[in-house]
């Protein structure tokens, strides 16, 4: 429309029309065609002229691709393990929660996959469907330590208190892995998986009672139990000659090196009980104890009681001998008491304090109190060797170098001698030579590379 009272800056005419046919409204001079003024291209948004990306795209925002993939992986793991729906739902909920936490949002995809496995693991534990971390790390094809790290981090972040896995619970599931049924192996080597699992569970329970299980990784224990169970169910010469290596080969499982040690420990325990069987004439050795395992397991509690009582009687007999020896040396000052009478003293104490059937506990407090650190090291194997069943780390302690006695009665404010400090400082000549040598070394290294 003309007559708006504005003159064109280009030609000076007042013939300005308002051109708002198209998207941008403009005031155009008809004579020269120059644009006098123009409107805005777009309307200001409600919140002001600042346009925020997340606000404008909020409606069409898609969930994170990796989160979706991770949830699908959780589902897949649950299906492989054939757990029920509750566990699947719980693990998906945990995964969603953990994924969005700051300690997991920016980690690598590999770690996120491990996180998925850990969520399944913790849900299984909470809902009484125990699986071991070893199983999960096999499934994920990840390092068990990495799985452990992520698991502990996740449990801390989500504040979950998950119960521990009982080895006996996992035993049955684990024994399914061993392909030892009549379909897979020849008749003499085959075993019904139910019988195998039952016998292995009994062996693991016995091992747990005698301190072999606590603190140890469960899978080597289970492997050892299954091996011994398999040997003892049909203790033929052929089976007894089978090594763990060959057994794992025919059963198509990966051997664990630690299982060998567990087998030795379990055999020792079985021997100790086998010796108490009243109708046995032959000597029980770790090699032929497999034949007696059936009887041992059937009567294990009775045999345990007998073994403890026999051990206690043996200890008392030993103590009465050492007591006689100790009383003849009573005139000696106490600080020079030899270890034997200290042991005797310990034995006397234990006799006074312990009750029948309690032969495993014999606290040696008297030697403890009068000994310094060196003597303590000697008295520790004493308590381990004096009981019938003790954790193997106590009966076979690692040899540690004796700690230096070190400074006594230091106040922290003593005078520091100059000569001592000077011994830590290089002489000027030494420093020069050292600098020279360093230079030569670095030159030769840079020449090489």
């Amino acid at each position: 429309m003309s007559g708006s009272g504005v003159s064109c800056p280009g030609c000076g005419s007042s013939n300005i029309v308002d051109d708002d046919l198209y998207s941008q409204a403009q005031m155009v001079c008809v004579d020269c065609g120059s644009v006098v003024s123009e409107g805005v291209l777009a309307h200001d948004p409600n919140g002001g002229s600042d346009v925020s990306y997340s606000w404008t795209t909020a409606v069409t925002r898609k969930p994170c691709v990796n989160l979706v993939k991770g949830l699908q992986r959780v589902k897949a793991i649950c299906r492989i393990l054939r757990v029920h729906k509750e566990i699947e739902d719980l693990s998906q909920a945990y995964y969603k929660q953990a994924y969005q936490h700051q300690s997991f949002i920016k980690v690598s995809l590999q770690k996120k996959e491990v996180l998925a496995g850990c969520c399944v693991l913790v849900s299984c534990r909470l809902l009484n469907w125990p699986i071991t971390m070893g199983t999960m790390s096999c499934l994920l094809d990840a390092d068990p330590m990495a799985v452990g790290v992520v698991y502990q981090e996740m449990v801390k972040v989500l504040s979950i208190e998950a119960p521990i896995v009982n080895v006996t619970d996992v035993m049955e599931a684990h024994s399914q892995e061993y392909k030892i049924s009549p379909l897979h192996v020849p008749e003499q080597l085959a075993e019904n998986s139910k019988d195998l699992a039952k016998r292995a569970v009994a062996l693991v329970e016995l091992a747990a009672d005698t301190w072999i299980v606590t603190g140890r990784k469960p899978i080597p224990i289970m492997m050892a139990a299954i091996y011994l169970a398999w040997q003892s169910l049909k203790p033929s010469k052929q089976r007894l000659k089978f090594t763990l290596d060959r057994f794992c080969q025919i059963a198509k499982v990966n051997k664990h090196k630690a299982a060998l040690k567990r087998i030795t420990e379990m055999r020792e325990v079985l021997c100790k009980l086998g010796r108490e069987i009243p109708w046995l004439r032959a000597e029980v050795t770790p090699d032929n104890v497999a034949r007696q395992v059936d009887d041992i397991l059937k009567n294990r509690y009775a045999l345990l009681r007998r073994a403890l009582r026999t051990h206690e009687d043996a200890l008392q007999a030993e103590d009465s001998l050492t007591e006689e020896a100790a009383s003849s040396r009573a005139s000696e000052p106490v600080e020079h008491t030899p270890t034997a009478s200290a042991v005797g003293l310990c034995g006397l104490n234990s006799e006074r304090t312990q009750q029948p059937g309690d032969g495993n506990e014999s606290p040696c407090k008297a030697p403890e109190l009068q000994s310094d650190s060196q003597e303590t090291q000697e008295s520790v194997p004493n308590w381990g060797k004096r009981v019938l069943f003790a954790p193997p780390c106590v009966t076979h302690p690692k040899r540690r170098r004796a700690g230096q006695p070190g400074l006594q009665d230091v106040t922290g404010d003593e005078e520091i001698s100059d000569s001592e400090i000077d011994s830590y400082i290089r002489t000027p000549r030494e420093a020069r030579e050292f600098a020279l040598t360093q230079k030569i070394l670095s030159l030769s290294e840079s020449e090489k590379s």
Binding site: M145, P163, E368, W383, P391, C393, Q404, D409, G412, D422
Partner: protein
């Protein structure tokens, strides 16, 4: 008053020397234990009235090992810039308090029935009225240690009536085991920027690899420790077996840096962490412990053979192993370690039986 700081106490078959803090703590436990073994004092103790020893109205049982230790700590808790060595006073103060607890007549009576009579070879320390009002809470007053010495006592003191024995806590809770300190980590500010290259060049016991770690690693032989010295002048000292040794070691490192030409000072020495270990000498059912103390324990045998117990008060982390060995860490003071161990010991005793 002449006071022999290393008196020995013969009782039964043991000989206890008051030389180190651990021994003192041990005696506290043992006294408490012995006193509890005897019943309430019987009559006929008037025969002891003419003795040199004084009997206070404080029950020995009020002196729990932790309180005994705390009292000695309190008398030791003098600021570092004080000239007088604190531990000496603490030892005397503690010894006196122990003498007090040991002289309860019933204890003496029972000891007399044993094979070897009680022989107290030390001189008397006398009655200090302050002690009667003391209870088992920590006496945080550092002046008390000083005042005990100040009040000189004569060898012969009037006797106060003997207290009846009222066992407050059962003897089974006293462990009699003392955690041994294994490592102390402390920090100190030398107060001036340092040229690490220069230090690595001039010092024999230093290693410096800037590509690997941005600090000089220096070691001294006595006390056997390692220090990390940063270019800002801050230093971390590790490996000492006691607080005093850590302080001495840190001073030696500062002296070395000083000798190299830097204006090093010794500011804000602080113990950051203390690690101790001990052995309860019986096996522990970790599975049972994690079941009953689930909110504090974490036991994953597939990852680590020990149980990690996070105690809330005091805030200490304990690593408990099936062999009965316990590692305590996270303490800033020795008392926290002892307290944590006394807290855990009855719990562990509960998991002892098969």
């Amino acid at each position: 008053m002449t006071f022999d700081p290393t008196f020995s106490l013969h009782t039964g078959n043991d000989q206890i020397h008051l030389t180190t803090e651990e021994e003192e703590y041990r005696i506290g436990c043992r006294c408490a234990a012995l006193c509890l073994e005897t019943g309430p004092g019987s009559g006929g103790c008037s025969s002891w009235t003419s003795r040199r020893w004084s009997v206070t109205s404080m029950t020995p049982l009020q002196m729990t090992p932790a309180s005994v230790w705390r009292r000695s700590l309190a008398s030791r808790a003098l600021p570092p810039h004080q000239k007088t060595p604190p531990s000496c006073q603490g030892r005397r103060g503690l010894a006196e308090s122990l003498v007090r607890s040991l002289t309860s007549a019933s204890y003496l009576m029972s000891s007399a029935h044993r094979k070897n009579p009680v022989v107290m070879t030390t001189q008397d320390s006398g009655i200090i009225p302050d002690y009667n009002s003391q209870d088992s809470t920590a006496a945080a007053d550092p002046q008390q240690g000083v005042s005990l010495l100040g009040v000189g006592a004569s060898p012969f003191c009037p006797m106060t009536p003997m207290t009846p024995m009222t066992p407050m806590t059962p003897v089974t809770e006293r462990s009699g085991i003392i955690p041994q300190l294994q490592n102390i980590v402390s920090t100190v500010n030398l107060g001036c920027p340092l040229d690490l290259k220069f230090i690595a060049l001039q010092a024999r016991n230093a290693e410096y690899n800037p590509k690997r770690f941005a600090a000089v690693i220096m070691r001294i032989r006595e006390p056997r420790t390692t220090a990390l010295i940063f270019s800002s002048g801050k230093m971390v000292c590790t490996g000492a077996k006691s607080e005093e040794q850590s302080r001495l070691a840190a001073r030696k490192y500062a002296r070395v840096v000083q000798k190299l030409g830097f204006p090093a000072r010794f500011l804000d020495f602080k113990i950051q962490n203390m690690v101790a270990s001990c052995d309860v000498c019986f096996p522990i059912r970790l599975e049972g412990l994690v079941l009953t103390h689930q909110q504090f324990s974490s036991y994953e045998p597939e990852l680590f053979p020990g149980l990690i117990y996070r105690m809330v008060k005091p805030r200490i982390v304990l690593l408990i192993f099936v062999s009965g060995k316990v590692v305590l860490t996270g303490a800033k003071e020795r008392a926290e370690i002892y307290e944590a161990f006394e807290n855990i010991y009855p719990i562990l005793r509960g998991f002892r039986k098969q």
